[in-house]
Amino acid sequence: MINLTQAPCDKQLRIVDIQGGHGVRRRLLSLGFHKNHLIELDSRSILGGPILVRDLTSDTSVALGRGIAQKIMVEIVDE
């Protein structure tokens, strides 16, 4: 289990856990970040800056600050 900032780009990732306060969790939930959901890290993320996450089911992109990305725990899905 790694957090989103440590995850490799362009590989399918499964959300295992979302940590952090309920305010942040609620906001992430409303944007489709649920447990077991499949996402992908976009290569266009900025070094040391925000990352870009692609939701594979709904085909949307969400920008996340690093602090928030660290709270999302994922595992790499073997294809």
Partner: protein
């Protein structure tokens, strides 16, 4: 109650949808097409109303801010929830983005739980088709239990069918039934439903109230319930606990997951995805715009072009409008004499004309370009790119668009801080906005510094201004213990802009500005004209002379211009010449270079103008407005002194 009022009022139709679903485009297409009375935003820009006539029947349509869910913890989404609770609409039009149907349906499911009559507008059908998503509209309608109408708002397609369906549904009084979730969750919900006493304020149906109670975990509602009805709170807690234990997740997450899974299931049952590809050329453009290096170059280019266009359009327009205004003043001076009547009319003209000739020429192109950047989806990308820099001043990417708006006018910039989800970010951003040089202050910088000292000085002033903004941000954020919550922002897919939509957006924002700031401008100008007529300006100069003469080393006559500056920044410029009794070309014969820079610096940074203070007071609170005034004055004072010292060396 409803029966009594029904005869005399028009049915309320609410437009609601997730952000970027094209909801406002659809609303504007309908309101713009058949608007009977004009569109008026509340001064708060909370929602837009319009009355439309559909085949002889008048409907009162209301556009609510985009919301992902009816989550009561978010300030913007609270507006939507409150409206649904208090105003009880006659019908809901839920606008969906068909190209991301799976996620959009989550809000639909939640709205259906409310039980109000409802119509779904399946929007952006063209985009969905390009993405290879085929939705069986009849099947979707059958599963949801409400009519579904496919639309393409940008082309005006499907709007007639949508309105006809709306009328049809209004005539029937069928209740909408919620779609059932997993049995164990449903059992717990009905268990809680039984506990709700009959005198409890119910919104439409008991099930919805029960669900919302479970979801309100850790929010203000819980504390209130504990005081009002402790036994119900106890029952609620036990229901939550049972859900938590069974699903090993907080109860509100269990509910959210139920909706999520249901939405995906409905999506799979109603739609077929033939090829999962984004449009190639758009993706390629996106790659360049968001590129970690090229992206910043483009961002810089966009901002430069942004300002060049605004000044290229604004400058000639301003001259064009100022000319007749000046002739009118000369004419009035000749014909009205120098009596009270002249001063009053002159004040009135200054107020009305200042708004038209000085603010609008820059403000309209700015609003228009802003809506273009927003429409094509660039604003979200700029926020993404700027996030790292904003972190350095204690904020994050979401504050970027209020700052950009601030270059036009600080007033709408303060209003737009509503998009920030945390109060901390809102306060810091609002305190920094008055340091963003608005179009009025840019006029001063151009007219004083660029004209007399050269354009490089003006550029230097701008660079210093932005540096100061960053420094202040760092200092202000030291006063807040919690760090900024960080960026969570959906990046919508790039879209072609719609001219009609941009014009509409500009118009609505312009009207909000005119309603709020203009009256203050006019009243201020008239007041100052009276001050001059009764020669009270001498006392003002005398009173301010310790500051103006002793500390800043400026001519005493400039004291009154500071008061003008508080009412309207650019008035200081006009009054400066008048106070010193010289014309524009002769200015340098009565003031030194140093005095000129000190004056410009002080005027630009001291107290935000009256309209800005008023909007800060109204939007963020009295405390913040007062702090803002003190902070600006202190900063202006210190920098002016430093400038004076540097010139002495």
């Amino acid at each position: 109650m409803r029966l009594l009022t029904n005869k005399n009022r028009y049915p309320d139709i609410i437009f609601i949808g997730q952000p970027n679903s094209g909801k406002s485009t659809l609303f504007n297409a309908i309101a713009g097409l058949k608007a009977e009375t004009s569109n008026f935003p509340g001064t708060t820009v909370e929602h837009t109303h319009s009355k439309v006539n559909v085949e002889g029947k008048i409907l009162n349509i209301i556009d609510l801010p985009g919301s992902y869910t009816l989550n009561p913890s978010d300030e913007v989404e609270n507006v939507a929830l409150k409206h649904l609770f208090v105003e009880k609409p006659d019908l809901i039009i839920n606008v969906l983005d068909a190209s991301i149907l799976g996620r959009s349906l989550e809000l639909t499911i939640e709205l259906i739980e409310l039980g109000y009559p409802m119509v779904v507008a399946l929007n952006m059908m063209d985009l969905a088709e390009k993405k290879g998503i085929e939705t069986n509209v009849d099947k979707l309608s059958q599963i949801l239990g409400v009519p579904v109408v496919p639309t393409i708002a940008t082309h005006g397609r499907g709007i007639k069918e949508l309105l006809n369906t709306t009328l049809k549904v209004l005539r029937k009084t069928e209740t909408v039934k919620p779609i059932r979730w997993s049995k164990d969750v449903e059992d717990k919900i009905s268990e809680l439903e039984q506990m709700i006493p009959s005198d409890f304020p119910i919104v439409q149906n008991k099930r919805f109230t029960a669900v919302k109670m479970i979801e309100a975990e850790k929010l203000l509602f819980d504390k209130m319930l504990l005081e009002i009805n402790p036994s119900l709170k106890k029952g609620l807690d036990s229901v939550r606990k049972a859900l938590e234990e069974r699903h090993s997740a907080p109860a509100y997450e269990v509910i959210a997951a139920e909706r999520h899974h249901l939405a995906l299931k409905i999506f799979e049952e109603s739609s077929r995805v033939t090829r999962r590809r984004r449009i190639d050329w758009l993706e390629r453009i996106d790659d360049i715009i968001m590129h970690p290096f090229l992206g910043y170059l483009i961002l810089l280019g966009v901002f430069l072009a942004f300002f060049i266009i605004i000044f290229e359009v604004g400058n000639p327009l301003e001259e064009l409008l100022l000319g007749p205004l000046n002739s009118l003043r000369v004419y009035l001076a000749d014909n009205l004499g120098r009596g009270l009547l002249f001063y009053l009319t002159e004040g009135l003209i200054q107020g009305i004309g200042g708004g038209i000739a000085i603010v609008l020429p820059y403000f309209i192109p700015l609003l228009f370009l802003m809506s273009l950047l927003e429409d094509i989806g660039y604003l979200a990308r700029a926020s993404f790119l700027m996030d790292t820099f904003m972190h350095k001043i204690g904020l994050h990417g979401n504050s970027v668009s209020p700052f950009i708006l601030g270059f036009g006018c600080n007033v709408p910039a303060v209003i737009s801080t509503r998009i920030l989800e945390s109060r901390r970010d809102r306060i810091i951003t609002s305190l920094l906005i008055p340091f963003v040089p608005c179009s009025a202050r840019t006029t001063i910088i151009l007219a004083l510094i660029a004209f007399y000292l050269g354009p490089l000085w003006a550029l230097g002033f701008y660079v210093f201004n932005i540096f100061l903004l960053g420094l202040l941000g760092r200092i202000i954020s030291l006063f807040f213990k919690d760090p900024s919550p960080g960026l969570i922002l959906e990046i919508p897919s790039l879209k072609m802009p719609s001219l009609k939509n941009m014009a509409r957006k500009t118009y609505v924002q312009l009207k909000a500005f005119a309603k709020f700031a203009w009256p203050i401008l006019i009243a201020g100008s008239v007041l100052l004209a009276l001050l001059q007529f009764f020669h009270l300006d001498r006392f003002v100069n005398l009173f301010l002379s310790p500051l103006v003469e002793k500390a800043l080393g400026l001519p005493q006559e400039l004291g009154v211009t500071l008061v003008f500056g508080f009412l309207r920044k650019e008035l200081s410029l006009v009054m400066m010449l008048q106070a010193l009794g010289v014309n524009y070309q002769e200015l340098m014969s009565v003031v030194s270079q140093q005095q000129l820079v000190v004056f410009a610096v002080f005027i630009c940074f001291f107290i935000p103008c009256l309209s800005t203070v008023a909007i800060l007071w109204k939007e963020i609170g009295r405390g913040v407005a007062l702090v803002s005034m003190a902070l600006n004055t202190a900063v202006a004072f210190v920098i002016s002194l430093v400038v004076r010292l540097i010139f002495k060396l």
